[in-house]
Amino acid sequence: MSNPTSTEYEKYYVPEQSKMAVMATIGLILSIFGAASVMNDKTFGDGITSGSWTILIVGLFWFMAVLFAWFRQAIRENIAGMNSAQLKKSYVLGMFWFIFSEVMFFFAFFGALFYVRTLVGPWLAGEGEGGRMNGLLWEGFEYNWPMALTPQEAVGGAASQPIANNGSFTSAETTMAFSDAAAWYKWLPLWNTIILLSSSFTCHLAHMGILDGNKKKFNLWLGITVALGFIFICVQFYEYYEAYAHFGLTLNSGIYGSTFFMLTGFHGFHVFMGMTMLAIQLMRSLKGHFTADDHFGFEASSWYWHFVDVVWVFLFLFVYIL
């Protein structure tokens, strides 16, 4: 984008007063208060009260309604031609740095995974400078990844080593790693990788379509992208079902289960968000919102989609394969 000129400055649209922020705040605070109450009821109380659920659900719906209204207003302003090139650049910067913050969020979880796998595991098994605890607390624990036995199990459960336990951690019978070369086609993560990578490609095709002004092509490929995203989420759910029902792999399966579910879970949630964003762009396109040179809503969503895709590549590599 070229340097802003002074004429562009005159058009920088500073919106009038807006109720959006305060409304969104009410929804957000209700949601977090509700969520915290639900969890505290579950863990510290005698069962979840319906009041907590009500606050949470009201809060979430309120919040989503405000977001809907907020985006609708921003879109209408754009359609009304209020957005100068410079304001659009602000939106581009905003989206870019938002995605960067998401990258850092995943970085924390990947960092935890690497730290546990390269340092903590060997230490708990008595290796190296950090290994002194092994003889005192976790004697007999052997480290391998995916973790076959948690330290707690290795010493015979919480009863035989009563300190430093804060729950019972039972490892899975089978892990999600690639194991059976003969039945490689039954390995779901592989299919999910293919699905998600192709969806990035179809998303790109849609982009080429709108750049050519070819709405039909755009809608078609965007629709396929959304569908692929949906299939991905279904497969992911099925994988979770298998993990819980057949493999004994749960959130309680020690650090392997923790990292597995948190990394894939947050990724899955981001796929869901990305898919929703793209689906909204599809609806907007059907309403005739986009032109060859004005389709930022789609572009922002597509950047998000590609970001989610890149995260998956790392997940596939470090959670499933290596």
Binding site: V22, A36, M82, W97, S101, P151, G167, F169, S258
Partner: protein
Amino acid sequence: MGDHHHGPAKGISRWLFTTNHKDIGTMYLWFSFAMFILGGAFAMIIRAELFQPGMQLVDPAFFNQMTTLHGLVMVFGAIMPSFVGLANWMIPMMIGAPDMALPRMNNWSFWILPPAFLLLASTLFMEGGAPAFGWTFYAPLSTTYAPPSVTIFIFCIHVLGLSSIMGSINIIATVMNMRAPGMTYMKMPLFVWTWLITAFLLVAVMPVLAGAVTMMLMDIHFGTSFFSAAGGGDPVLFQHIFWFFGHPEVYIIILPAFGVVSQIIPAFSRKPLFGYDSMVYATASIAFLSFIVWAHHMYTVGMPIAGELFFMYATMLIAVPTGVKVFNWISTMWRGALTFETPMLFCMGFLVLFTIGGFTGLMLSIAPSDFQYHDSYFVVAHFHYVMVAGAVFSMTAAVYYWLPKWCGRMYNETMGKTHFWISFIGFNLTFFPQHFVGLAGMPRRIPDYALQFADFNMMSSIGAFIYGASQILFLYNVIATIVSGKPTSEEKVWDGAEGLEWTVPTPAPYHTFETPPKIDPAHAHS
């Protein structure tokens, strides 16, 4: 679209629904001052208990809640929002922009803060009490042994993080996209530079903090074992993640303060800032280094020796760019036509005391010595020299410096100077003796102590009450200025001040720079 040549809306809706950077800045500033008073009240309780050895006023559990909330409220409620408020007021005026880049989101970034802190403070009245695990909330204190209010705490941290991230995105977009033509990066006032870099830090580390509290949440409620060795995790993992956020966080707090000082010292030296370019590069180097020093907070957890050495040397490196800055401020004053109005006095206090804090930091950075200092009152002295005499003094300087521009009235100089001297004496009386008791072995976060620490602790407490009381004078002075201060309409309130904000009328009109100002290409940075 339309014209904006109108003033603020009437009544409460002006504040609730505003999109104006000055209104939002004002709200941030008042909110942070309220939090400063609240966090200060907690500190007074702590110092009252520590006035004498033995258990006097509160029970140990409550004492721990006080230290925890004091730290959280001061860091996340007082210091950080105050500088965001300053950024909101000043950055658009300093770069010649009509407002912040994303005004509605700007309002949202502010409005989620007050309810989040209300929730956090309300945990004091919950069953099990408020969080009592320290502002660093180490696992397993904050997981296995935490009170139920930890869940509220976790979500509050999420909201504060959201606010900081949105605020930072706004600042980055404003600085990168809204500078007036001719306002090149290397012409930006240093306050804008330091905030731009601070905003990068915030966007990078607030999500990591969000990750840390999310892992806590999962460990507490859903049976994961991130911070539990029984399941193959590690409590020390928490400390790594926390300090990966935490160390950049201390620079998030101090960099904008550096920016303020770099505006004020030249104004009262009536000379341009010495070494502008090197100031920019030093700021960037500090920001970069701040990502690779975090484990200097963890020398005693049993890291491998290679780790100890790496983090020790990397930490010491930070003293180099920090030294460059101190050198430049002093050189700015060298042969300047110096005067010492209140803002300058606070900057002088900053310069001397922050440097002391930097030196104690260097002492702490020496891993083998830190085995002695760690978790002692020496650390408490260190970080109060950098955070109170550093960040809070410079924030106070900023208020005195720009207040006349904001409200078109002059504050009472005598009262301002009195405020400075009482603060300066009170602060040093509070925290200087803490170096001694720390070196002699008094641990931090403790409601009772051995008899030999009694005298120094009593001095500390008296100093704290003095410093606390001096803030009432500050509040009175500010309110008196706004209500009935001597009116001034000079654009340049301070004759040595430079920068675009001093070219607009005083008091600054509701909307400034709706058309961008002309920047003289020959004129250097301000």
